[in-house]
């Protein structure tokens, strides 16, 4: 299952809800303001680092660059472009946007 999170973890509970529900083996893709969840040294970094054992976490490079934070991503998070976004959608058997 692919979970798409487009909200900052510092303004909405989408990432927290997603982490609570996402099963081991699933993938989370952070897009738009959701990419703030992918950064190192924040209040949620530890939680993401912990989740990385069971869940694949990806972030859209386009949106990281647009916000000037592409150099601050946690180790273990995979950066994808829109091609990679399409591949994640087709490779997973379902897509859930956490709006």
């Amino acid at each position: 299952m692919l979970h798409i999170v487009n909200k900052s973890p510092f303004t909405a509970g989408a990432l927290q809800s997603c982490l609570r529900i996402a099963k081991a083996g699933s993938t989370i893709l952070m897009i738009e303001d959701g990419i703030y969840g992918a950064l190192d040294g924040t209040a949620v970094s530890g939680q993401i680092r912990e989740a990385l054992g069971d869940i694949t976490v990806c972030a859209l490079s386009h949106d990281l660059e647009a916000r000037g934070v592409n150099g601050k991503v946690l180790d273990g998070i995979t950066l994808v472009d829109y091609d990679g976004f399409v591949e994640l959608v087709t490779a997973n058997d379902g897509v859930q946007s956490w709006l």
């Binding site: 798409i4 487009n6 897009i31 738009e32 303001d33 386009h62 949106d63 472009d81 829109y82 091609d83 976004f85 399409v86 591949e87 959608v89 087709t90 379902g94 897509v95 946007s97 709006l99």
Partner: protein, 130 residues
């Protein structure tokens, strides 16, 4: 693979329409079929032909229209959402006695059934919104 796209936010207020556009373009470039793009709620504002953004700004509406022209995309505006927000095609103009119509090329107005159908017919439905 057959992909359905849903857009729930208008242009210039939220990134959803931009994200959906770039995703759709990338999917088409990879040879996937876009079964339908369904615009719901404020997303219907993506289909108004009356937008005239500054020339050096991206034209979100025109960009969708052009992509539809190149690839024969089915861009559907939800009728109830469109009526509330002043999106009117020629038929609706006559029916409601309006002074004009403003549905951009490549877009059409239809019902929520089109979203359900996209959910059934497409292999994946990807939702962009707030």
């Amino acid at each position: 693979m057959k992909l359905g796209i849903m857009v729930n936010e208008g242009p210039y207020t939220h990134q959803a329409s931009d994200s959906a556009y770039h995703f759709t373009k990338a999917a088409l470039a990879k040879g996937h079929e876009i079964y339908r793009v369904f615009f719901y709620h404020d997303g219907v504002q993506n289909g108004t032909d009356f937008t005239t953004p500054p020339q050096d700004d991206r034209n979100v509406v025109k960009r969708w229209s052009e992509l539809a022209g190149e690839h024969g995309l089915d861009l559907v505006l939800c009728v109830a959402a469109a009526q509330r927000r002043g999106l009117v095609d020629e038929d609706e103009q006559k029916r409601h006695g309006k002074t004009g119509h403003n549905v951009a090329p490549g877009f059409r107005i239809s019902g929520l059934g089109q979203l359900i159908e996209a959910g059934i017919q497409a292999d994946r439905l990807v939702v962009f919104g707030d």
